[in-house]
Symmetry: C2
Subunit: 402 residues, 2 copies
């Protein structure tokens, strides 16, 4: 299942070439290996999972990113190379070494990424074997194949582009992402790769990535679980015009475009969430603090009882009350209002006088639903996005070996 | 669905009489109203939900418990009288008033409890109408009917008794509990009523209740959700012998029996968890602190991905790694071992050399499963109990209006 539309068009990014292949890491014949080549002078920044069990490729990518500058990104699906100990680190480094030899760069200029089964050794042989053809196939137009190559339980690729004029020069941003389950990224995201041809220095680029991640990938949840392999990379090839570091207005425009693009990818993950039949926006407003609004929003977005009610299209606002009630933030329940879309279900802590079950059922029948909680105690607001908990979520995860 | 055995035998408690009835609050013809009568001189203590939206009966019971001494407890299922505002408080007090008139006590000596749909007005009329017959039917032997009368999505009653000799006198403890979903009690529990004929003073009784709740009801989770109506009452009728307050050994024995009884009830809730096909003990040991062990245990017990793997009898230890990894406690992953029952799956942060998939599948095929995580960094340990996430959990909650 998946909710709503998705798109497959994109704009190539000057200086970034992509290739993908079916190396035979997973059991099926869909693409499972992706290679990005970054032109000399590219700047790369990333954010990674906060899991204690950060996977071997995450550890190696973090280290190589510091040594850099990165020239290649190698991404495989079908195996996470996580909880694999010293062997896992050796395997990740061996893959970097193989790419480095063929790309004529240092191993430290190659960043590895993996997603798939946790706890199994990475099969490096098929990866090595696939590399020569991938090098031969590198092209600026291969982003959509890459979006397909990093999928696991995803049912469709997630790709997005933005273009804007900065200092008279057309700048492109293009990104891909994967992930449908084990999704509540923590200060990071599922795998996502975004490139631009703008020229921005590394510290500033890192700051912009972190800022955009906070309001996109860090605001989504499918099942409250956090992967061992989350990573989000932002690459600036610098092929479009001069350094933007001192152009305040241009940087602000770029940041907006970046957040917008990442939000599209993040919402794409939720729309394609495992078993999803609803796309749900949880908006908490007029709160005292960001932390208060977020705690309430995530409590609603992660409640199994709310998520099953959403699956049933049941306007069960008692469960929303329950999920708000169980948070450990300060709260005045008697000033609290709850809406589904524009329909008021609860006003000042009790059922809205005008509320009728039939109206609730109509509101819940839609695929795209907004749950809005008004705290009436301040000026802060926060939004998170989630999907429902369907029979298919259980089927998928009872059958698929993460 | 439900896992394992349950029992229906119990011992009556001197000084405590019970009655139940089908008052017609819910839509079916199962019992939905329960009345407890406590003999004069009884001591009552309770712990209640920490939800911001504590229900009207919870608020009234808390207040009346202070004014007391309690002589009647009135419990209904089918309607939670939660998020019902001022009207909800009036309704709860009206029920107390009606019981008080017929029982010839003050309204403040009646404690109300409700469980069922949130956000709907409590139908007081059928409750009032049912009271005369209930008063006529009060009897010390009616505990099992009461256990049935407080059920909602429960498929079977939860009742347990303990007897022990204290100062040469036989003392009885008997308790009932309900709850199958919206179960992760927070400093309280689902509805549970426990009585003893021992004589213990109120401050000490409260302390003993809180202590036993911590290691029983506060260590279970079905779906991580916390009810608005949780309450656990302990009543001492004082009919068996003298005050025990100064008998250290007897108090320790009593505390053990109380914890043991409450653990049986709490585990009974998990075994009858909504859609449960597995009863899972999560034991985290050799940790640095209680807080560290508990965070890891609850992260495992509440992970949708682990719970679906349990449903599939899939020894998917990668998901256990994931759930440990996402906690925000200090942790050395390289010294960490994971067992299912006696089978070692992971040793020192990576797959155990001797581990075979077939052994994992055998271990997971059982209904009762122990997930054991050894942190190897201290002397603390904690245990929580949970069930799996099955197709039936989704069906039940997509169909049932909480």
């Amino acid at each position: 299942m998946a909710v709503g539309h998705y798109q497959t068009s994109f704009s190539a990014v000057n200086g970034i070439r992509v290739a993908s292949a079916n190396a035979g890491i997973g059991s099926d014949d869909s693409p499972d290996l992706v290679l990005f080549e970054l032109c000399p002078g590219s700047t790369s920044v990333g954010v990674f999972t906060q899991s204690h069990f950060s996977a071997a490729p995450v550890q190696v990518a973090r280290a190589h990113l510091i040594e850099g500058p990165a020239r290649y990104l190698l991404v495989n699906s079908g195996n996470a190379n996580a909880a694999t100990g010293a062997q896992g680190l050796r395997d990740a480094r061996a893959c970097c070494q193989a790419v480095a030899v063929q790309g004529k760069v240092k191993p430290q200029q190659v960043l590895p990424f993996s997603t798939g089964v946790i706890g199994e050794a990475l099969p490096t042989e098929p990866i090595m074997n696939a590399l020569p053809d991938m090098f031969a196939g590198l092209h600026e137009d291969h982003w959509l194949d890459a979006a397909r190559g990093i999928m696991t339980t995803d049912t469709r690729p997630k790709i997005a582009s933005r273009q804007l004029k900065l200092c008279g020069q057309l700048v492109t941003l293009t990104g891909i992402a994967k992930g449908a389950g084990m999704i509540q990224p923590n200060m990071a995201t599922m795998l996502s790769f975004i490139a631009t041809d703008a020229q921005i220095s590394e510290p500033l680029l890192q700051e912009m990535l972190s800022s955009s991640v906070t309001s996109s990938f860090n605001r989504i949840t499918v099942d409250s679980d956090t992967s061992t392999n989350d990573a989000c990379m932002l690459i600036a090839s610098g092929q479009a015009g001069d350094l933007l570091d001192d152009c305040q207005q241009e940087l602000a425009d770029f940041q907006d475009a970046l957040t917008d693009l990442m939000l599209e990818l993040a919402q794409g993950l939720v729309r394609d969430g495992e078993g999803a039949t609803k796309f749900v926006t949880v908006h908490v407003e007029q709160g005292e603090s960001e932390q208060q609004c977020l705690a309430i929003a995530f409590s609603i977005a992660n409640s199994p009882l709310i998520k099953t009610a959403l699956f049933a299209s049941d306007a069960n606002w008692g469960r929303i009350v329950m999920a708000i009630g169980k948070t450990d933030v300060q709260l005045d329940v008697e000033s609290l209002d709850i809406y589904i879309n524009d329909l008021c279900l609860m006003r000042s802590g009790t059922k809205a006088i005008e509320y009728e079950e039939a109206d609730g059922a109509n509101a819940m029948a839609l695929d795209d639903i907004v749950i809005r909680v008004v705290l009436n105690c301040g000026a802060c607001s926060e939004t998170v996005w989630t999907s429902d908990l369907s029979l298919d979520y259980v089927k998928i995860n009872a059958e698929y070996r993460t």
